[in-house]
């Protein structure tokens, strides 16, 4: 799946404030890119715009083409066709992104039933496969659990299984590890990377953590105040940042790393 974003501007209705200001980027099939930036830099809003899911208080202008289909101003039918089937999203906090009163198995069965028309045994088998694919053990028992009965890392795995149930060509991960323990973080990152490689799936990985992004993607954009301030291969961004803001981001990540290895805060 290719994504071409040109001059995307997102404004707040009423005040006219630009939360995203004329950004352009593109994504080739199977490519993994990162969007790095602090809170309020417009990175999450950009991913919502990719899915045509901006809240009514925000309006987008410019152009977003997904496999040639224009998202801005697309019909409901076109958008429903794209969401879930061709592009899926996972969220920061898996404990709020799963319906608390629906059992895990049913959460995963829902998109499979709706998009692929699976029923009965076929459906159960597909749910089991989806749970096994995200390395969840004891799938039979787990599928009968409610979201609050499993751990945070397991919840994010369930959310990933839900997102991948219909084999989308593109996954948008909006800070998928921020709410998790560091050890679990590494496991989830491994999982996302493995699934992308296995299925040739593209990835838009949104994070404020440059260290996490550098483990997952090949190319990144750095956003600040609604604009892209730096872009390029992730190695270049980490090792030779040109923008002042990126320099600061990398600097603080390094300081943290150094403190870990030397035990001293410089």
């Amino acid at each position: 799946m290719t994504i071409e974003v040109e001059d995307l501007t997102i404004t707040v209705a009423g005040s006219g404030k630009r939360v995203v200001d004329a950004i352009s980027f593109s994504l080739d099939p199977g490519e993994r890119i990162g969007i790095i930036g602090e809170s309020g830099s417009g990175k999450s809003v950009t991913t919502l715009a990719l899915l045509g899911l901006l809240p009514r208080s925000l309006t987008a202008s410019g152009s977003i083409r997904v496999d040639g289909t224009q998202i801005i101003g697309a019909s409901k039918k076109q958008l429903l066709e794209i969401r879930g089937r061709r592009m899926a999203k996972i969220f920061q906090d898996p404990s709020t992104a799963l319906d608390p009163l629906t059992r895990v198995g049913e959460l995963i069965a829902e998109p499979l039933r709706r998009h692929q028309g699976l029923r009965g045994h076929e459906l159960n088998a597909a749910v089991e496969r989806a749970l096994a694919e995200v390395a969840l053990p004891d799938t039979e028992r787990l599928s009968r659990a409610f979201p609050h009965e499993i751990s945070g890392g397991q919840r994010q795995r369930v959310a990933i299984a839900m997102a991948l149930a219909c084999r989308p060509a593109m996954l948008i991960a909006d800070e998928p590890t921020t709410a998790l323990d560091v050890t679990v973080q590494a496991e989830i990152l491994d999982l996302i990377r493995r699934l992308c490689v296995d299925h040739g799936m593209g990835l838009v990985f949104v994070s404020h953590d440059i260290a996490v992004v550098s483990q997952t993607v090949s190319r990144a954009l750095v956003m600040q105040g609604g604009q892209i301030v730096e872009r390029g291969p992730i190695d270049q961004i980490v090792h030779a940042p040109t923008d002042l803001y990126t320099l600061r981001l990398v600097g603080s990540a390094r300081a943290l790393d150094e403190a870990l290895t030397t035990g001293r805060v410089s």
Partner: protein, 292 residues
């Protein structure tokens, strides 16, 4: 240690049944069910068999309770027990039908209101507030007076008056749920709004709605009795608990059984509905459910 083993150790114990279920049903739920089952049986029996015909005036005037007339007779020599049995059935019918109307209209209007934004939302919620600020009974009296007293107009007026409460509750619950991330997650996976209503909104709202329905049932029974007492409820020849109370008013000192019997039935129904609601809340409250 491999990742797989770590995950296995983090897996919770096999899902235990809810503690509430293990301890049995809440006491108030049981009390409510027993009380309502008792009046329900009286209501059903009244369809099949009555001690005396309602038009039968062969009993003596104001006879005290005895083997021939379990609950005595009224001024015209009619059997109070027969009237109370039919009145119970009418009260339950009005209660259930009004509840059904209130829930159906209330949930639909509330859901539509929840999706509205801007001035449409403001107008809708102000309208609901006005309807709610109007006392249920007064509204029901108004509709009853306009349409003429009948079983249907009692049911419709009580149902409509109560539907405003349900609509506002539904609107608030749905608005809260729509802000939750799992709804956004469902949207990103291509779920239509209609499906979201059925698979995410309603299941998350129903514990609260069921409790409300039980409360509305009790309120509706009380409202019907009040309307009938004022002569605006179910008209003769049907019996009605409220009208029985009103009829027994003048003889309450000399023949109290005529007032006590319908009064006790009203009390039992309302008490039953309220404790059922309490019990359901304890059993199904989603916040309690998440904590267990």
């Amino acid at each position: 240690m491999s990742a797989g083993i770590e995950i296995r150790s983090a897996l919770p114990e096999p899902i235990a049944p809810a503690p509430a279920r293990r301890r049995g049903l809440p006491v108030s739920l049981l009390i409510g069910l027993v009380l309502l089952a008792a009046v329900g049986i009286i209501g059903v029996v009244s369809l099949l068999w009555l001690p005396y015909d309602l038009a039968d005036t062969t009993g003596g005037r104001l006879e005290p309770p005895g083997p021939n007339h379990w609950l005595g007779t009224d001024k015209l020599g009619r059997d109070t027990a027969s009237f109370v049995m039919v009145g119970t059935r009418i009260a339950l019918t009005v209660g259930l039908s009004s509840m059904a109307i209130a829930m159906a209209i209330g949930v639909i209007v509330g859901l539509i209101a929840a999706f509205a934004t801007g001035w449409v939302d403001d107008v809708q919620s102000s309208l609901l507030d006005v309807v709610i600020a109007f006392p249920t009974l007064l509204l029901a009296m108004l509709i009853g007076a306009m349409q003429g007293a009948s079983l249907t107009s009692a049911v419709v007026s009580i149902g409509l008056a109560a539907s405003a409460v349900v609509a506002r509750l539904t609107r608030i619950l749905a608005k809260g749920l729509l802000r939750r991330q799992f709804v956004t997650a469902a949207r990103t996976s291509g779920t239509s709004w209609l499906r979201i209503v059925f698979i995410h909104l309603l299941p998350n709202m129903w514990p609260t709605l069921v409790v409300t329905a039980a409360l509305i049932f009790g309120t509706a029974v009380l409202a019907e009795a009040s309307l009938s007492y004022l002569g605006l409820g179910v008209p003769p020849p049907n019996s009605s608990l409220g009208r029985l109370l009103q009829g027994a008013q003048s003889t309450v000192l000399t023949a109290p059984w005529g007032a006590v019997a319908p009064g006790v039935v009203i009390l039992v129904i309302v008490l039953g509905a309220n404790s059922l609601a309490d019990g359901l809340r304890e059993r199904f409250d989603p916040t309690r459910r998440e904590r267990r």
